[in-house]
Amino acid sequence: MSHDKLIRMANQIATFFRSQPGSDQVEKVAAHLKDYWAPEMRADLKAQAADHAQEMDDLVRRALPLI
């Protein structure tokens, strides 16, 4: 799937969880992606990290290994 769209969607999720209290934002982003994104979408997102890491929210980057 096109990288700009997936990354934008993932970044939106990160933005929400960044605003939440606590210290487990990375886990929450990962949990949300796992609960609502089909595995192929998660795989695409991971694959896109190679070329487009700089477009990804830091929380998304850190959540990638968990999904």
Partner: protein
């Protein structure tokens, strides 16, 4: 109107409304009756089984006391009081029949009949006329008024005896497409006027003139029904005891002889109707008095707009084609299903198990939706199932699930009658949910306060006898900022309900939340620049909601269809928890669902991540239940959502789609992208009534059945499970649940797997009840007995649950969630300086596939662009001009309508007509949590144009080509 058809349950007219009060015992004609204090003598008699003659009374209207046909004798009282206006008293002794009252009643009837035409045999109300009945009941045998010289003066004769035109005569008003007003038959009982006021709340009718000259009149001088404020709800027609206000269908087809109770298939109010027929010919739909959602009221759509069911555009035979540039070929069901099954199996073999999916529809029944998601999970063996609720209320599912623990409105509709402060956010009930709006307006007229939060000045803000205390006309896209600012006021001014929060919610989460919202940057003053809402107004609204008594929130798609839709839903839930407005009558958080079965399609596991009953597919114990029931292994990973399916199609991984009752091409955002996705698929199966827009890209068309042609259940916005009953045989041959089953079986047979064997939707409901805890006690026998039931209905709530979270939240402790405002990426700028928001109007329904095929089009022939006169002026746009509407996604053209209902900087349109293609404009931005598209905010530019755009013309041509059907080979 009297009930001359054998009723289902008791729906007699009891004369005056029910009352609540201490029991009072009295004697009527020797029978002892006990009724609540305040009940009329007429109603008490009716309860005892004694019908007192009446003309001006009806039990959905307050007693009026004008006809004096209902007189009775009461021991110890002088004269003969009217029983409809006389309340009962303890020990009262009433006689409903005596020489004296009979004489009076006869006299009354004689007076009426002296000015009424006696053409009963050819009258359209013959057999269905209360005047006729009463003449019979009182024993009227002759009419003793002597005609004065020159003949009797009447208001119904066109000419007097000398041949001169009668100045009193008023011709019939035929202007409304569905009913006529024939003043010649009017007895001026006032029921229509009161129905329009008390039941509908529109105040379109008045009695003009006095005494003999008095007449019912719609609107002002020179108005007819169509040009008046009348919204064609039909309440007056139903109230009229004579043929004066009469359905045109009855005039044409005759009075019906049988009836079936069923449920409206339009909006989420879920009104119950009596479908009245002769044989299998539907004569009219009459709102059913015992319907718990509508209590005998209806709107123009459910009451009148059913003609699409027999429209000539309906496709009744299955059709296939290899490629979408070919014309359609009509084939047998076997061939069509075999073709579809081969294609889908071929795709799965070549591209993998996950390369196909389904879209269920919120228009279909629970049983149908359940089968469609089962088709994905148990036949395709993947979780690629989604529903059109994705594009409307998916944020409700997420937001309320996170905060309260369940995805549903908390109240029943009756609850609005107990509300003191009603907040309407991003919804337009008078157009979208008309019957709920009527009930709300009734409550507002009785003194409840209203707060409207909407960019547009919707009708509720100011209409007859209703005015909002506050209208917060926010900039589209700033919902979260406004809701959070309200919470700021409630917390910082100490208006929250600490007792409730301590008992019912997680206190630590509250503390974090309170700290968050107390921050000065969330104050109304700080956010005023952003939201456009004056700080003082917002503060006043927040105070009113927090302190005005029972506070109830109703919201619609103006909340959900945003990039922060889910966050706003959580913000709304926060407000209700903060103020303790949850868990009892008159309060709550209530999503107004767009389509009839949005609630049900979500309940039935249509979403790709959850099985029926909102249980995530990752739960092994939940999967085990369905694995046992279905004999397959269920995928533990979520599947694709609609936008993801389309994206995957464009990238070549998603190739086959079964789309039931849903027109994604017209209703989903960014039409070009949807079209590209559909065009990239190898097999698109459309199962619908009409060749809809999506069908332009389809390879298989399976003709669907209407709600009149099948059995099933719909679940409305108050979680009420209502029966849909088969009124006539399906014209296409099969009910939709049968078609899904045939498709499943065509695939299963080819793979040598066990087939499905449902024989009736009741069997499907048994499976739902057996697998889904909230439905455990639901079955058709129970629905037959109770009429309807609100889930959860199980061991803990055997009678169902009118109100949720009464003892505690479904998830245990209510959860406060921090709601940080994040601006949407869709921003205005020099190229696209205006914000477009979308909505719908009363007479049309969503993409209009049904309502456009009924006479409802007289109220709305095309979509228009509402623009503020200031914005219009700087662009040189005048009323009625063709304008081009452009966004970064595309452009379309429509006519402009100048109005200050929208603020400067905001434009608005509806999306009922395919030629408008309003979704060519909308973007692919979506809610962060659910991918619900951001329909409600698009940055656009508006400029003058000459007419339809090239895209519109090209599309029309393409649609025409795609709809060709080859004549059937004989």
């Amino acid at each position: 109107m009297k009930d001359f058809i054998i009723p289902w349950g008791d729906d007699r007219d009891m004369g005056t409304p029910a009352k609540e009060g201490a029991p009072v015992t009295l004697e009527i004609d020797g029978f002892s009756v006990t009724v609540p204090e305040g009940t009329s003598v007429m109603r008490a008699a009716a309860i005892a089984g004694l019908q007192i003659p009446k003309l001006c009374a009806s039990d959905n209207l307050e007693a009026f006391g004008s006809c004096r046909l209902c007189v009775v004798e009461i021991e110890g009282r002088r004269g003969t009081p009217a029983s409809c206006t006389t309340p009962v008293a303890p020990g009262m002794v009433v006689r409903t029949q005596s020489e004296q009252v009979q004489r009076i009643r006869k006299g009354v009837m004689e007076l009426y009949i002296s000015d009424h035409p006696l053409d009963c045999l050819t009258c359209s109300a013959n057999g269905d006329c209360e005047l006729q009945d009463m003449a019979g009941v009182v024993g009227l045998r002759d009419q003793r008024f002597e005609a004065p010289e020159g003949g009797m003066r009447t208001h119904f004769a066109r000419r007097d005896t000398s041949g001169e035109a009668n100045p009193e005569y008023i011709p019939k008003d035929d202007s409304n497409p569905y009913f006529t007003y024939d003043p010649a038959k009017c007895i001026v009982c006032n029921r229509c006027v009161r129905a329009c006021e008390e039941v509908q709340g529109t105040f379109a009718l008045t009695i003009q003139g006095r005494g003999f000259e008095s007449r019912v009149s719609a609107g002002g001088v020179g108005d007819d029904f169509l040009s008046s404020d009348c919204v064609s709800c039909g309440a007056c027609v139903q109230a009229c005891p004579t043929a004066t206000l009469q359905e045109k269908s009855v005039i044409e087809l005759g009075t019906p002889t049988r009836s079936v109770i069923t449920t409206c298939a339009y909006c989420g109010v879920g009104c119950s109707f009596k479908a009245e027929l002769n044989g299998d010919q539907l004569v009219r739909m009459v709102p059913y008095k015992n319907g718990a959602a509508n209590r005998g009221h209806s709107c123009v759509k459910g009451r009148f707009a059913y003609g699409y069911a027999t429209h000539s555009d309906r496709i009744l035979k299955p059709m296939i084609r290899e490629r979408i540039d070919q014309p359609w070929r009509e084939v047998s069901w076997d061939e069509a299903l075999g073709f579809a099954a081969d294609k889908l199996r071929g795709i799965q073999a070549k591209y993998g198990r996950k390369s196909v999916g389904v879209i269920t529809s919120s228009r279909c029944t629970n049983e149908e939706t359940y089968l469609v998601q089962k088709l994905a999970r148990a036949v395709f063996l993947n979780n690629n199932t989604d529903t059109c609720a994705r594009v409307c209320h998916s944020p409700t599912g997420y937001g309320l699930g996170q905060t309260f623990g369940t995805s549903a409105g908390t109240q029943n509709f009756d609850s609005v009658g107990k509300a003191d402060v009603v907040v309407v956010i991003g919804a337009n009930p008078t157009d979208g949910h008309p019957v709920f709006a009527s009930r709300l307006k009734k409550r507002l007229r009785a003194g409840a306060k209203l707060i409207v939060i909407d960019p547009r000045r919707i009708d509720l803000v100011k209409s007859a006898h209703v005015e909002a205390a506050h209208h917060l006309a926010l900039r589209p896209g700033t919902n979260v900022a406004v809701v959070t600012a309200m919470a700021h006021v409630i917390v910082t001014e100490g208006l929250y309900d600490e007792g409730f929060i301590r008992e019912r919610c997680d206190w630590d989460e509250f503390a974090e939340y309170a700290e968050f919202v107390s921050d000065a940057r969330h104050s109304p003053e700080a956010t005023e620049m952003l939201t456009g809402v004056p700080a003082e107004e917002l503060r006043a609204a927040a105070r009113l909601y927090a302190t005005g008594g029972n506070g109830a929130i109703y919201y619609g798609l103006g909340v959900t269809e945003h990039s922060q839709g889910s966050t706003t839903v959580m913000g709304i839930a926060n407000l209700a928890m903060l103020t303790g407005n949850i868990g009892r009558d008159g309060v709550g958080v209530n999503p107004l669902r767009g389509q009839n079965n949005v609630q049900g399609s979500c309940d039935m596991g249509s979403f790709p991540h959850e099985l029926p009953g909102y249980r995530h597919v990752k739960g092994a114990e939940v999967r085990a239940i369905f694995e046992a029931a279905w004999g397959v292994e269920i995928d533990a990973e979520p599947g694709l959502r609609i936008p993801n399916m389309l994206d995957a199609a464009v990238s070549g991984r998603f190739k086959g789609l079964y789309c039931q009752g849903e027109d994604i091409l017209q209703s989903d955002p960014d039409t070009r992208h949807v079209a590209a996705g559909l065009a990239a698929m190898d097999c698109v199966i459309v199962h619908d009534l009409f060749l809809n827009e999506t069908a332009n890209y389809a390879h298989v068309f399976l003709p669907g059945s209407t709600f009149l042609e099948k059995d099933g259940t719909f679940t409305n916005a108050e979680r009420r499970i209502n029966r849909v009953r088969k009124v006539m045989a399906p014209r296409n041959g099969y009910a939709d649940w049968e078609i899904t089953q045939m498709l499943a079986n065509a695939i299963l047979a080819a793979e040598d797997r066990p087939l499905w064997h449902y024989t009736h939707p009741a069997r499907i409901m048994e499976e739902i009840a057996a697998t889904t805890p909230g439905f455990a006690h639901v079955d058709y026998a129970m629905l037959e007995e109770k009429g309807s039931v609100q889930w959860p209905c199980n061991d803990a709530n055997p009678e169902g649950s009118p109100i949720m979270h009464v003892e505690g939240f479904v998830r245990g402790k209510g959860r406060f969630i921090v709601t940080e405002y994040v601006a949407t990426e869709e921003r205005t700028g020099p190229r696209f300086p205006l914000l477009l928001t979308t909505g719908r109007i009363l007479s049309q329904y969503n993409v209009g596939a049904q309502t456009r095929r009924t006479p409802n089009t007289v109220w709305h022939t095309e979509d228009v662009l509402e623009i503020h006169p200031h914005d219009a002026e700087v662009r040189g746009v005048k009323e009625g001009d063709w304008v081009k509407l452009a966004s970064r996604s595309g452009e379309t053209a429509m006519r402009a309508h100048l109005t200050d209902r929208v603020s400067p900087g905001v434009v608005y349109t509806t999306f009922h007509h395919p030629t408008t293609q309003a979704n060519v404009i909308t973007t692919d931005y979506s809610d962060w949590a659910t991918n619900c598209p951001e329909y409600k905010v698009t940055a656009v530019q508006v400029g003058l144009s000459n007419g339809p755009t090239e895209w519109q013309e090209e599309y029309d041509a393409l649609a025409e080509r795609a709809r060709r059907i080859l004549p059937a080979a004989e």
